[in-house]
């Protein structure tokens, strides 16, 4: 078995089923939702908003609330009483908010499902899609494969990818010393013999490896164009402040030739570097990078 196969197949674990809760008095809808969820979701059904007003009730990750429940007037009390409810995922079976004035109290990821079109199968599909999106944000396993000079990465979706070291612009030509998970599972950290190190977040893996990812590798032309704009804007702000390249490089704690390369659009700086430069120039970093 190749090292890559060992990595990809070696750390599979039986994940706990995600819990989803449907709040509805529609027995048929509830029955269909449970059936459509099959063995991928652990479903519980509650009949009123009042049922959600105890801490123990908020133990699911996903909540689907039918706006036709009899005590919908209690909405959005669960969010007022339990701030942690805001970080759970909520779906409303409605076409719009029952009371638009409560919008600011609601989670930013609240989803709407048309009540007139809602079926158990549609609700289950929507919840499963959200689970997939969430799982994409987790790196489950990472290992550097020396022979292939790249990383075997498995995301929470259970999809595995091979990410060549040469694809990562932050990498230099020296060998990789280690590739380890970060403080949480949203990224991994690569260290090289030269002392160079960088982070690879979950979305960077998709950017390089997953053609279905909406931000999959853009064209080289558009990168070069953007890098040139950043350089031009940086020079404008530096001159406005009356600073030389040497002075700004010193203030931003970087080497003069590197700053010069950035100003000439020959190097795409990391956001971290741009933040140091924006701080030295006294302008928001967005001012340096935004497209006009």
């Amino acid at each position: 078995m190749s090292p890559l196969a060992t990595i990809v197949r070696g750390e599979d674990t039986a994940a706990e089923k995600p819990r989803a809760c449907l709040v509805s008095q529609d027995e048929r809808l509830a029955r269909d939702f449970v059936a459509a969820s099959g063995n991928t979701l652990l479903v519980e059904v509650k009949h009123t908003i009042a049922d959600l007003l105890s801490e123990a009730a908020l133990r699911s990750r996903f909540y689907v609330v039918d706006t036709l429940v009899r005590d919908m007037d209690l909405w959005p009390t669960p969010f007022q009483r339990f701030p942690e409810a805001l970080s759970l995922r909520w779906f409303l079976l409605a076409s719009r908010l029952p009371d638009p004035s409560c919008e600011s109290l609601l989670p930013v990821q609240l989803r709407f499902l048309d009540r007139t079109q809602a079926t158990g199968a549609r609700i289950a599909a929507a919840v499963k899609r959200e689970i997939e999106i969430e799982e994409e944000h987790h790196i489950m396993a990472i290992r550097y494969v020396e022979e292939a000079r790249g990383f075997a990465v498995r995301l929470g979706t259970a999809r595995s990818y091979f990410l060549p070291l040469s694809e990562l612009p932050e990498a230099d030509r020296t060998s990789v010393v280690s590739a380890e998970m970060g403080e949480d599972d949203s990224y991994f950290v690569v260290k090289q013999v030269s002392g160079n190190w960088f982070e690879v977040p979950w979305d960077d893996v998709l950017y390089h490896c997953e053609p279905a990812y909406p931000y999959y590798k853009q064209t080289a032309d558009s990168h070069e164009q953007g890098d040139l704009q950043v350089g031009v804007r940086l020079r404008e702000h530096r001159k406005r402040r009356g600073l030389t390249v040497t002075e700004l490089a010193r203030l931003a704690e970087m080497k003069r030739p590197n700053l010069s390369r950035i100003e000439h659009g020959k190097h795409r700086p990391s956001l971290e570097t741009l933040e140091r430069l924006s701080e030295a120039l006294g302008v928001p970093v967005a001012e340096l990078v935004r497209n006009r």
């Binding site: 990821q109 390089h208 990391s270």
Partner: protein
């Protein structure tokens, strides 16, 4: 990685993340979405509330007035 905490939100950027320049927005340790700094718009499906915009603005990732 840089982490900037503002109100209930934490804004995270990674050294070596992909273009466009963007920031990951987290709450209670979970990612709620990402903000495209170059194009000043969300990259994912989430409601950009006033609290989120305040956090982005205070951290230099959102410019209120666009030309």
């Amino acid at each position: 990685m840089t982490r900037k905490k503002h109100g209930n939100y934490e804004l995270v950027t990674y050294k070596g993340d992909h273009p466009p320049y963007h920031v990951h927005i987290r709450r209670d340790g979970r990612e709620v979405g990402r903000w495209d700094i170059e194009n000043q718009k969300p990259m994912d499906r989430f409601r950009v509330t006033k609290e989120i915009l305040d956090a982005l603005r205070a951290s230099g990732y959102y410019l209120e007035e666009t030309e």
